[in-house]
Symmetry: C2
Subunit: 551 residues, 2 copies
């Protein structure tokens, strides 16, 4: 019924269809890397119109295929775009729209900042903030609602702690959440009480935060849009081109899709749903396709097994060193965990288990062991954080291809607190990157932003030195847990892609992958930890297009 006109057939056959333009990036001091940290240097690359690498060239070699454009990189140090394997994209973005208390050095300084903020935004129905840390204040106790009431009494104030596992409310916020002396501690949470009785003191731990979170008016759609845009900008400024978004809500997902639909989603988001219902609603019969030219995919679910160490929510095998009766909080029971994992694995959804304490890690490993028997094959089970692991359990990370998704900067921020919380005897398996890697776990590094700042170079420096920004402690904290520069770079790039089923798409700077890369002012495989901390991200490119500085 349908016939092709001959003249047109010839014209079609002869036409270079589709008319794509190839660009040669030359004069590059380039590094491509495998998830295992195997490095290959290159001097030039050809990138096609889809942003895919078609050739990697050594010094002196010319491209085999045709080239339409030249981009002289002038000897730039080029590494794969960084991948943050554990962050909260919308949390980071919305955080930029709330009060940042992370730089305050005392309770008084924080209260003064809060008072200023209240005066600056008289029309906001709630005042929201984040980043406080009573340890940093040297307070020796948690702050109280009464202290907040003294500076803001007219409307609710709700401020989350630096680790996101505790919140500080004023009386108006407690009232809005209907938290009173009669309210009992929920499962998986704790309401701190005043010393003289049952009266809530103002700080709520883990699950006890939920009623206040639920009372906060949700962000408006336009706020969410602004937040996503802000988060993407921050990631690009830090050379991050892809993020594993841990605990993507339905509203988050919808924001990502709208940005993708409208064409301004430029970063890559590997989404892990915040619960089963949302995972199934979004994914249906399995992970979504890679959408928007490999920019977005919902691959599985994040499950919270315990809380955090700072708020004593991490589940430990024996009591906290500084609170011996306390074993931490079961956010999800072992049975629930297995049910969730089973439902996810049934349809090939990936499972990322938040486990911080040694008991939680033990539980996660035991569940993986059981589920791996029921659902064989490559599942890429992820354990998020894996902060305090019983040394006896480390070898178990080598089984079933477990991915250890860890955040080097947590070690630098938390080590003193960790010493207090778990005591010196249990530190042998704390932030044990090298031991886990040696056991066979694939390391994927991230920031946990907005809990910690988005700073891969600080992370790389910490990973290879076991020191904080001040170079403390001298010689490194448990220096045997340092990883090599190549391991660290791989954990922030190619391994992060593998951990999100994205190998072959981005992360390695290899032929066939998207040309996501960062231009640094130092070679990260040849510089000292101190130099790494001052190394600057000069440019960030996604799929062969520069996204920072914005064009």
């Amino acid at each position: 019924m349908k016939r092709l006109l001959l003249a047109s057939a010839i014209a079609l056959a002869l036409a270079p269809s589709p008319a794509l333009a190839d660009t040669l990036f030359e004069n590059v001091d380039g590094i491509s890397i495998t998830p295992e940290g195997k490095v290959k240097r290159f001097a030039a690359m050809v990138v096609n119109d889809e942003g895919r690498i078609t050739e990697l060239l050594d010094f002196g070699d010319g491209p085999e295929g045709k080239v339409d454009y030249l981009e002289d990189m002038k000897g730039a140090h080029v590494v794969p775009g960084f991948i943050d394997s554990h962050a909260h994209v919308m949390g980071l973005g919305l955080g930029t729209m709330t009060l940042d208390l992370s730089q305050t050095r005392s309770l008084e300084e924080a209260l003064a900042l809060i008072a200023d903020y209240a005066a600056k935004y008289p029309e906001r129905p709630w005042l929201l903030g984040h980043g406080w840390n009573q340890e940093q204040w040297g307070l020796g106790r948690y702050p109280t609602a009464a202290e907040l009431d003294a500076v803001v009494g007219d409307r609710p104030v709700w401020l989350s702690r630096i680790d996101g596992h505790a919140g500080w409310a004023n009386s108006a916020a407690l009232a809005a959440a209907e938290i009173t002396a009669q309210t009992r501690d929920p499962a998986g949470g704790r309401i701190l009480r005043l010393g003289n009785g049952r009266q809530p003191a103002g700080v709520l731990i883990d699950a006890a935060m939920a009623p206040v979170d639920q009372a906060v008016p949700p962000p408006l759609p336009e706020d969410r849009e602004q937040a996503l845009f802000a988060a993407q900008k921050i990631f690009f400024e830090h050379g991050i081109t892809a993020v594993a978004d841990m605990g993507t809500s339905l509203a988050d997902w919808m924001s990502y899709r709208r940005a993708g639909d409208a064409g301004w989603l430029q970063m890559r988001i590997m989404a892990y749903a915040g619960d089963l219902e949302e995972m199934l609603l979004i994914g249906g019969t399995g992970p979504t396709l890679w959408l928007y030219d490999d920019k977005l995919r919902m691959g599985g679910i994040k499950v919270w097994l315990d809380g955090a160490l700072g708020s004593r929510g991490a589940r430990l095998k024996t009591g906290y060193a500084d609170d011996p009766a306390n074993l931490g909080i079961d956010v999800t029971s072992g049975t629930q965990l297995r049910n969730i994992m089973s439902r996810a694995a049934l349809d090939d959804f990936q499972v990322a288990i938040h486990a911080i304490g040694d008991a939680a890690n033990d539980e996660a490993l035991a569940a993986i062991d059981e589920l791996a028997a029921e659902y064989p094959g490559e599942r890429r089970w992820r354990i998020e954080h894996a902060q305090i692991v019983d040394p006896a359990d480390i070898a178990r990370f080598g089984q079933h291809g477990v991915i250890a998704s860890m955040q080097p900067v947590h070690m630098a921020s938390d080590r003193l607190m960790a010493e207090v919380r778990v005591g010196p005897d249990r530190l042998a398996g704390a932030y044990a990157w090298r031991s886990l890697a040696d056991a066979g776990a694939l390391l994927a590094f991230g920031s946990d932003a907005p809990v910690e700042p988005v700073d891969v170079l600080a992370g790389l420096a910490t990973a290879i030195s076991r020191q904080d920004a001040a170079g403390e402690p001298a010689g490194g904290w448990m220096p045997e847990q340092r990883v090599t520069r190549e391991q660290a770079l791989a954990a922030y790039t190619a391994a992060g892609a593998y951990a999100g089923y994205a190998e072959g798409r981005f992360g390695s700077l290899q032929v066939g992958e998207r040309a996501d890369f960062v231009v640094l002012d130092n070679d990260p495989l040849l510089t000292s930890p101190e130099e790494l901390r001052t190394t600057r991200v000069l440019q960030t490119w996604v799929a062969g297009r520069r996204v920072f500085p914005a064009q």
Copy 2:
């Protein structure tokens, strides 16, 4: 920094980029039509690779541009793809996966079918069905739970009435929904009781259906996928290329997106969310973009103001003729309606108000009048059904560009029931297509599938004859309400596009629009109503590609 190599620049400039193929559809007896029913005949059209019409040609004229392919249509009668302006896509699809009782002529026949169905699907935890009509059974009363229990006692059975406004449950289903003698009628609903007391009789009206609906296990993602595929196939078989989906749930939307992402969403869906929360979650700051090459858009919200006439849920100004104390059901209060409309209009979402009874239509018109003052400009307020309108209110449809979204087949199915429910005195404004059009309302026709069958040709026949499939009543029911063939065809095509903000994209078969068209074996503007009913859809095309019969 970036420079174009000269040789490549020339090659790019010379290349016919992008290399698109144009197809000439020749030998067409084609009709293009405006929303107002202005017809233009054409003999050939050129369609580009995006499926857009680039030329409409008269007999004997040749194309101005180049043409790569020829498609000889052999004189086919071609009209714009039909647009169903009121249907429930997933409802139709899921309905194909449940028991159809719409052809049963007696309670006994229905019960026998149910027993067979139970035997056929022993593993299904619930038995679901639809389409029963006690009027069609000549029962003179509603059926009871006990009658169902006698054939299926081991698990819940839940069967919705033909109009979707009543459901028939067995005792297991009532128990699952915890509906007992102590349960009070909810606002907007009614639990029918046994004559001897408070005991639920088995049939639940409107809002009273909710507890059972909520107790039904939700369809599995794979069932939803199968359902969407089935619905799309049914629409294409009937020449329907676009549908206004009235009351799209979040799960529905996700199914549509997954189909779009995977590339098999071929029909066009203009979605209206089922509630504000879902509308805002999906749309964010306004209607979504047109996605997947004009296949999908969330444009606004459907609001239910009253129930249906058959179940006496339609809101009337004075009592039902056959139940004088009953004024129908307020599904949404006037205040709620205005709040919803206001929130929607604030961000340019469109509002489609379900209004069946004369009181509901009065209320909808009053609300539109108020909202139009607050939110001026073109809003395309839609009233869905507009079945029983007080003749005094008809002129108000001409204000504020109201769209009357009506279903011709409802008149044929419901006229005898309507005579009983509202009595002869109030019929002057019943299904008053011509009066509404004359008043200045734009008519957009649909099926209300799965409430009524998807059959545009029957709809066209009814619209121009005011007769049912049997040709009853002779001369037509209130024949002054007939519309012209051109009005009817426009209401099923171009006006439906306009009603969904899709004019210029599809619906008219004009230059610049997508080539969505139907091949019929008769000319619908030249045939009798009887011939229209037997006119067959030979082919259906979307964007210049044949979708029925599938290629």
